[in-house]
């Protein structure tokens, strides 16, 4: 150990001489305008979960309408469309993106890499407050005349700004402004995450020693940084079309018998811009989930992740490929038909690295020592739902199969399975896994079991049968089926069944919220490393880690993140900061 201290003097990035200098002094700077990544992470997470609850309630309302059309008179077509729009946008952007990158990114990147904090803490703080502002602007649209926009989360022009769509008075303004704010805020945070991963890793933490969680979050952040500008541009242009009457996306059109003054714009252009962002967005949500699930499975199966190198390459490959598949959302948009060949091929190619990841998770379980803890259960739930959703993606990615299925409930079922249920299960697993580090106490196991089983089985029962509604031809975004000759009456029953299950699943989330609060005070004391995990965040001197994370000395990394059940080792895990015995292979 003497050697280690000597080595410290050579570290290029000079440590500040007095670490205490970092520490904020007043309550406000410590808990409110904090520049500590961990506090910012919690702020991000709490905000995201709060707005996520709003979106959950919206989903109940629309399920009630779909399951029992006509019973709930306060839901008319206009409000229904507002519900689906806000539900979709909140879940994708303000919950999933913010929670994975703003929440887990902020908490885990510095801790897992052995850094004291993000490299630009002030920018990081600003990022959160702009995000909060974006959320508030979004919520404000519920209280404006005309309500929030009801154009669907894809916000396709021309209808998004025409009077046949609810919320075109002011809701659409607030939505676009909120998105622009979100992107600005996210970019501040995202630059932080990337530079921190590139620069602030501790001594010995080579790229190939990083846990897959970091690989996932890092790659997703790069994707987000490069993809969000497309949404930014689309939002600004749409805003100008609405506010100033420009015609970026607006062709000549006759609305309700009136010829409008627009002319010369291209609605397809918006779709290209939107999906150029929108497809990487899927992976912005999926890649961190991939990483987190890899780590959960490895830790709780007490076995190294199978094929670590392949997992890293697959993450990078998926990240790269995700930029050249966007138009598979536009197969029936009337774009040039030749594009179909190209985008179907790239889309199905991306299935290969994705499949490899699934195999490697399952193969990690093979000959493992599987502890069926709550995080592990959620990870398994993730594999099954992600596998299911990924496979139905092969239907929709294969251009000609997409023709009958696009814009039906099949699509709804597919993307909820693959980027709704699956990432949310990964998030839950991650919260059960890292909560002890964040608070020092374990979440309650029994409540966790109930939460998992109801959520997993319920969500599967909701979305699996829904595919068959779509196969039958039921279009999405219909607030009621009405009279359709090809739809048997039993479809209404299936809808009612889905609604009942959705309500049950929704209420199970209250168990989770209660667990979060209850365990904060009454949970079992966790100790520093309750899961006996190898990664650095479990090796902090104190739990929960204080500002600056590591006390006086930064940890030093001697091995990769997955030394579980190493033959010959005393324990079934070897922490990353434990040196190999002298004389071992270098």
């Amino acid at each position: 150990m003497v050697d280690v201290t000597r080595e410290f003097q050579d570290i290029e990035r000079a440590e500040p001489e007095d670490v205490e200098l970092y520490h904020p002094h007043s309550w406000i700077t410590k808990y409110v305008f904090s520049q500590d990544a961990k506090v910012i992470a919690i702020q991000y997470s709490v905000t995201a979960m709060a707005i996520g609850m709003v979106a959950l309630v919206l989903s109940w309302l629309m399920r009630l309408q779909l399951g029992f059309p006509g019973y709930f008179t306060f839901i008319d077509p206009a409000t229904y469309y507002q519900f689906i729009t806000m539900h979709g946008m909140i879940m994708v952007i303000y919950l999933l993106t913010a929670l994975f990158l703003g929440g887990f990114g902020n908490y885990l990147i510095p801790l897992m890499l052995g850094a004291r904090d993000m490299v630009f803490p002030y920018l990081n703080m600003l990022s959160y407050w702009i995000y909060l502002l974006a959320v508030l602007v979004l919520v404000a649209s519920f209280f404006t005349p005309g309500g929030p926009t009801g154009a669907g989360w894809t916000l396709y022009p021309p209808q998004v700004i025409l009077s046949g769509t609810p919320g075109q008075e002011s809701g659409v303004f607030l939505m676009l402004v909120s998105l622009v704010l979100f992107i600005v805020g996210f970019t501040m945070g995202g630059l932080n995450y990337v530079v921190t991963v590139l620069q602030a890793r501790t001594r010995g933490m080579t790229l190939m020693r990083m846990p897959l969680t970091i690989w996932g979050i890092f790659t997703a952040t790069v994707l987000a940084l490069l993809a969000f500008p497309a949404l930014f541009v689309a939002c600004i242009m749409l805003l100008l079309d609405r506010a100033l009457g420009t015609s970026f996306f607006m062709p000549t059109l006759v609305e309700m018998g009136q010829t409008l003054s627009y002319g010369g714009g291209s609605p397809i252009l918006f779709q290209h811009l939107f999906w150029f962002f929108g497809h990487p967005e899927v992976y912005i949500v999926a890649l961190p989930a991939f990483g987190i699930v890899s780590d959960l499975i490895s830790t709780h199966a007490r076995k190294n992740i199978f094929g670590y190198r392949m997992m890293v390459w697959a993450i990078v490959a998926i990240g790269g490929l995700s930029f050249i598949v966007w138009a598979h959302h536009m197969y029936v948009s009337g774009m040039h038909p030749m594009f179909g060949f190209f985008f179907a091929t790239t889309t199905l190619i991306i299935a290969v690295p994705t499949a490899i990841k699934v195999y490697n998770w399952v193969l990690t379980l093979w000959r493992g020592d599987i502890h069926l803890t709550v995080p592990m259960l959620f990870a398994i739930g993730f594999i099954i739902t992600f596998l299911n959703g990924g496979l139905t993606g092969l239907f929709l990615g294969n251009v000609v199969v997409d023709v009958p299925l696009s814009d039906t409930m099949f699509v709804v079922a597919h993307f909820h399975m693959v980027m709704g249920v699956a990432p949310i299960l990964a998030i839950f697993g991650a919260i059960y896994h890292w909560y002890p580090k964040i608070t020092g106490r374990m979440l309650d196991e029994a409540m966790g079991q109930i939460h998992f089983w109801v959520t997993f089985l319920g969500a599967y029962a909701i979305f699996f049968p829904m595919h068959y509604l779509g196969l039958m031809g039921v279009p999405r975004r219909y607030h009621e089926l009405g009279e359709m000759a090809f739809v048997p009456p039993s479809a209404e029953e299936l809808n009612a069944f889905i609604t009942v299950v959705a309500l049950i699943v929704g209420f199970a989330q209250l168990v989770f919220l209660f667990n979060l609060v209850w365990s904060l005070f009454r949970g079992r004391e966790a100790g520093g490393n309750p899961w006996r995990a190898t990664t650095l965040e479990w090796q902090t001197p104190t739990t929960p880690p204080p500002h600056g994370n590591w006390g006086k000395e930064l940890p030093v990394v001697y091995r990769w993140a997955y030394d579980y059940s190493v033959p010959g080792a005393a324990e079934d895990f070897v922490p990353q900061n434990q040196p190999a015995p002298a004389g071992a292979a270098e």
Binding site: Y81, G150, P158, Q159, L162, G164, T165, P251, T252, L253, V254, E255, G257, Y308, V332, S333, G334, P337, F341, A344, L348, I349, A351, A355, I356, L365, W366, D369, I370, I380, I384, L387, L391, L394, F395, N398, V400, V401, V403, S406, D407, E445, M447, Q449, W453, Y460, G473, P475, G482, A485, F486, P488, S490, A491, E493, L494, F497, I504, S565, D572
Partner: protein, 351 residues
């Protein structure tokens, strides 16, 4: 397992049992009944398992490893397959030449279904076989290049087996036959209008800027090709059977999507451009037209009907329709008068 946890899980099983009973009783019909019954039986089985475990513990028998989790995962896989084969919800009988699309879907179902079942069953087996036991240690196996290589190859083969037929059918889908007759469908909030080419078989030019009360689809009056075009609104679309059709799609205001589930083919309508697809109706009958692209509050009400009829019947009907030129020359607008009377107007749009 601790006593507390057993009570909690047991309570949960009871709740689920009641939910199952409720579902089974609610409709007493088809799938509801079965799902409810399965949930109920599963709940009873779980409670039985708990009781047995409690007795075992009281008698001091060694605790058996937990099989509940692997069994449930197995049930998910098996249940999905069973659901697939027993579900009463399947696509509507096809009425066009796009049977190839259905076949591609079937191929995809088989490949993905096998992959899904195999992986989940394997997962369940791992959970069953390698559940934690005191004193056991996991194997140490960082990677296996050979296994990963063969898995990659297998996946690639599966992907090719889905992609190749898909692309072949797509090339058919985008190659409109020479002899296809043109027909135009125009969407606007929230109704469908149709235009037939008339004697010359060609549609005249159109422009959204020319739309007016007397010229609802914006036809160009100076284009001779358009003079004999037939414009119909507020009636069913009529198509001849067994003739390839190039369906030209136009929108006057926002995005719409012409969608007839029985035809399988569909395409968006984009204001400012003309999109198309081709289809050959293969059986007579009446089918629903839906809008499949969100187009405002009336989206779900934007309905229509297409009637596929014998060629002779179709021609007879078409002959009776006034041409665009005739209408423009001051004939009364009689477009909604159709051979089979007022039936059609009842089904017009919500506007």
């Amino acid at each position: 397992m601790s006593q507390d946890r057993r009570w909690l899980l047991g309570g949960l099983a009871v709740v689920f049992g009641f939910v199952g009973l409720f579902l089974a009783s609610r409709a007493g019909h088809g799938i509801f009944y079965w799902i409810g019954l399965i949930v109920f039986l599963a709940a009873v089985g779980t409670i039985f398992g708990f009781v047995r475990a409690a007795f075992d513990e009281a008698e001091g028998k060694a605790q058996t490893p937990q099989h509940l989790v692997p069994l449930t995962m197995l049930a998910v896989a098996v249940g999905s397959v069973v659901f697939h084969f027993l579900s009463p919800w399947w696509w509507s009988p096809i009425a066009s030449n796009w049977g190839y699309i259905d076949q591609t879907i079937i191929i995809t179902f088989w490949i993905t279904g096998v992959a899904f079942t195999a992986i989940v069953v394997f997962l369940a087996y791992c959970l069953y076989r390698f559940g934690h036991q005191a004193g056991r240690r996991a194997a140490y196996e960082p990677e296996s290049r050979r296994l990963e290589f063969w898995l990659t190859m297998g996946t690639a083969a599966g992907v090719v087996a889905m992609l190749a037929p898909g692309l072949i059918v797509w090339s058919q889908f985008v190659t409109v036959p020479e002899e296809a007759a043109e027909i135009e469908i125009v969407g606007q909030q929230w109704q469908w209008s149709f235009r037939y080419p008339g004697e010359d078989g060609r549609l005249g030019r159109s422009d959204t800027r020319l739309v007016s009360n007397d010229n609802p689809l914006g036809l160009d009056p100076n284009d001779p090709n358009g003079a004999d075009d037939v414009v119909v609104q507020n009636v069913d679309l009529r198509l001849p059977v067994d003739r390839p059709l190039k369906v030209l799609l136009r929108s006057l205001d926002v995005l719409h999507d012409f969608y007839v589930p029985e035809f399988r083919a569909k395409m968006d309508m984009i204001p400012g451009t003309v999109t198309y697809f081709w289809v050959e109706p293969t059986r007579t009958g009446t089918f629903d037209i839906l809008c499949a692209e969100l187009c405002g509050v009336g989206h779900a009400y934007m309905r229509g009907r297409v009637e596929v009829m014998e060629e002779s019947q179709y021609q007879a009907w078409l002959q009776q329709q006034p041409t665009f030129a005739a209408l423009a020359n001051g004939y009364a607008r009689v477009t909604s008068r159709s051979p089979d009377g007022g039936e059609a107007s009842a089904r017009s749009s919500v506007r």
